[in-house]
Amino acid sequence: MNGLGFLSGSQARLFTLAAVVGAVLVALTVPLSSTHAWGNLLIASVYLTTLGLGGAMFVAFGYVTGAGWNVAFRRVPEAMAVTLVVCGVISVGVLALGMHNYAWHAHGEAGTLWFKQMWLSPQFWLVRAVGYLALWSVLSLLIVSVSRRQDRVGGTRLTIANGKLSALFLAVSAVTFSLACFDWLMALTPMWYSTVFAAYQFAGMMQATLATMILIGLALRAPGRPLHGVFTTEHLHDLAKLLLGFSCFWMYLWFSQFMLIWYTDIPEEVAFFVPRESGAWGAVTGMNIFLNWLLPFFVLLPRPSKRSGKIAARVAGAVLLGRWLDLYWIVIPALHQAHPESGSPLVGVAEAGSILLVLGLFTLLVSRTFGKANPVPRQDPLLEESLHYHL
């Protein structure tokens, strides 16, 4: 492999072009509405960061549960995890750039809001963001480096060591990921709160992570590619099962949040759903549910479609679009309320730009990091088990 990882030169140029065009498109809309343009950058940065964090969590779940099936293609989520370093820096930049878009300054009165004012004070908020991203990056890099070291050393010692490291990482990131979701997404609607919000974002993150792994795995299993004969139909089947499960989990949490707020009809809580259920936003809500649950659920339920690369790839693509739409559905109406000029759910130039930016940048990054290590953890004691299991 070259320095570009699994991409060929022309493919790499294509994805670079996508990223550059995406960035230019977003930049072009700044004069129209800088808030709207920034909203799309926020979506892109959260999308990128959670793909990295999701990859790291997938690796960690594997170690903690002593799983064997996922070892053969573990370098894919590991490569995703390493992208956290670059994506984290981008996120800090985007968050710093748009701090003024969080409208908590407008709610100046003290009293019962003292904690919120302290918690969301701009400096503390930004320092926390740096802290979360630094912790995630450092711990995921450690796990990945131990896994790569095992390629030289072998044995079970490093598998056990990574199990401990992974448990620590999961405990730390459960807390920090919750707070990050509250800070970056929930706080966009400053007077709204929902305790399940972080769990719901976790489900969305894992859905997108699994979809990404399916797409990369399928792309790399063709003859002559690095995972040929390694990423088998059994792996695809298991990943698609997990995607099906996480789609249901996402819907379960989305519905729990919606239903309990709808049922009690408390003004400060329904304020989140009211602007999202009428007119064009109502259609976006419907589309969100369609892409993230209805489609994956009904298509992936039969066994043959989970084992078909073609079908699984299409569903994975739809889920990745659904993840983008879910973030869009959270971010843009919130900005719209605070800044009416930022517009309706028009998927326009800025949106196209943010999607292209994510696609181009993430593919380039993941390909580069994938190329930096052996494509298969060849000394992992559970590799044999992973290569030869059948459902």
């Binding site: 019962t112 919120k116 598998t159 448990a167 305790t195 399940v196 769990a199 949490l253 729990s256 239903m259």
Partner: protein, 464 residues
């Protein structure tokens, strides 16, 4: 590979057993006369059950005014016990269905008794809302059907009705799942029993099982389908129980995290109860080779994970109350931690969050006395969790003039003891009449010793 097998994949059955040994070991306690220990346990459990029957008869005769409820605290011991028992009933289906779908082979050692436990726990849970109706003989009014009472329909918008549907469905599917899993073992018992009444019963219940490949194929298809159906049920039951509270507008009850948090809590408490029973059963029924220390280790890890999720949910609730800026939420949580019921809150928090952290250490997870102690502590903590949620949210409501306290009456305590009596009586009887471990499934995961005549030399042995 062999050193890897030992370290990362410890054997699930110890002691180099043959298939026949497995059947003999597991079926032995059913054929022998009960030990003194069993009689002592049964005596205690049955006495508790009798106490419960007396208490329930009394409160039905006199009315539920015999409870310590008051106008402010309208739900307390009854619903606490109900949610506690429903929660206990979650581990069975989790272990048999969810862990089955996740290919966790170690589940075979504990799934049978965990499933039985599920059914008994759901039965215990059912007692409380039934008595709370006041006129339990009219329980069929909770079912929607055309009638001459008006017609008077049930309120489909009420989560209490959803509970009726969810829990009865859960009980039905759990019972079917348990029974289907029992069929091959019942056939084994049939084949081991001398002709007579006992054999006829086993024969009837094993549905003509003949052990052919075709029978096994049907069995495995049904088992897989039931596992797929039971998995959403594990989530739905406690989700709907949580909605009994979360659809209210009461601070402390209305919060969106309740559905997943209740499910995690239920699994947590269920695992604690499974561990409590299994540690006793493995000792008294001499099942140490089947429920090994490594099984206990894995259950502890699962329990720790669930405990941490529950702890995160507690902290999220406090954080969001502070963050929300809602004066009522803030008061409620301050009152929960520091008010008159702070003793209950502290019990809950230390039992569910702080003490289980010792399970991070492998040495603790492999020390059976320590594990037993932690499991008991979690059982207590999870009972208090429901008490804290229900009572502290109610006892100081929006109108300070109606603030009050809650003290359970002796009748309520006797009913709780009675429910434990029912649970343990059923469980002890179950251990006598059915194999406590799924023999057929254990045989599938054990590395069995083959008779010498059937052994084929392995390639590496031949080279050596």
């Amino acid at each position: 590979m062999s050193h890897v097998d030992q370290e990362l994949r410890p054997p699930l059955v110890l002691g180099d057993k043959s298939l026949g040994d497995i059947t003999d070991d597991i079926a032995a306690p059913m054929a022998a006369t009960p030990s003194t220990l069993w009689w002592v346990g049964f005596g205690i459990a049955f006495s508790a059950l009798v106490l419960g029957v007396v208490a329930v008869s009394y409160q039905i005769a006199v009315g539920i005014g015999t409870w310590g409820l008051n106008r402010t605290v309208g739900w307390a011991f009854d619903i606490t016990n109900f949610v506690f028992w429903v929660g206990i009933g979650h581990a069975g289906t989790l272990i048999s269905a969810v862990l089955f779908l996740f290919r966790q082979k170690w589940r075979t050692a504990v799934n049978r008794s965990a499933e039985a436990m599920t059914i008994f726990a759901v039965m215990c849970a059912g007692i409380f809302p039934l008595i709370h109706m006041g006129r339990p003989w009219l329980f069929f009014w909770t079912l929607p059907y055309p009638n001459y009472r008006g017609p008077l329909w049930v309120n489909f918008k009420s989560p209490l009705l959803w509970d009726v549907f969810a829990i009865s469905t859960y009980l039905l599917i759990s019972a079917v799942f348990w029974y289907v899993g029992l069929i091959p073992d019942l056939a084994t018992m049939r084949d081991r029993t001398q002709p007579g009444l006992k054999r006829s019963i086993f024969s009837f219940l094993s549905l003509g099982w003949n052990g052919s490949a075709r029978t096994w194929h049907h069995y495995e298809t049904v088992y897989m389908l039931l596992a797929g159906l039971a998995t959403p049920l594990v989530f739905s039951v406690h989700t709907i129980v949580s909605m009994d509270f979360a659809t209210a507008v009461i601070p402390g009850w209305h919060t969106t995290i309740f559905p997943p948090y209740f499910v995690a809590g239920a699994i947590f408490s269920g695992l604690a109860m499974v561990l409590t029973l299994m540690l006793i059963a493995r000792k008294t029924m001499r099942l140490e080779d089947y429920i090994t220390v490594s099984h206990v280790d894995r259950m502890c890890k699962l329990m720790l994970a669930m405990g941490c999720i529950v702890g995160l949910a507690y902290c999220t609730e406090f954080f969001i109350a502070a963050y929300s800026g809602n004066a009522y939420e803030q008061f409620l949580f301050r009152n929960r931690a520091l008010g008159p019921f702070s003793w209950a809150f502290l019990t809950m928090f230390s039992c569910n969050v702080i003490i289980p952290q010792v399970l991070w250490f492998r040495a603790v997870r492999r020390n059976l006395f320590a594990v037993f102690a932690v499991a008991i502590v979690v059982n207590i903590g999870m009972w208090f969790e429901r008490f804290v949620i229900i009572v502290t949210s109610l006892h100081r409501d929006f109108l300070p003039s109606s603030w009050s306290y809650y003290i359970p009456t002796s009748i309520e305590v006797a009913t709780l003891i009675g429910s434990f009596g029912l649970f343990f009586t059923c469980f002890l009887l179950f251990c006598r009449v059915a194999p406590a471990i799924a023999m057929a499934e254990v045989k599938g995961v054990a590395q069995v010793k083959k008779p010498e005549s059937l052994r084929i030399p392995q390639p590496e042995e031949a080279v050596a």
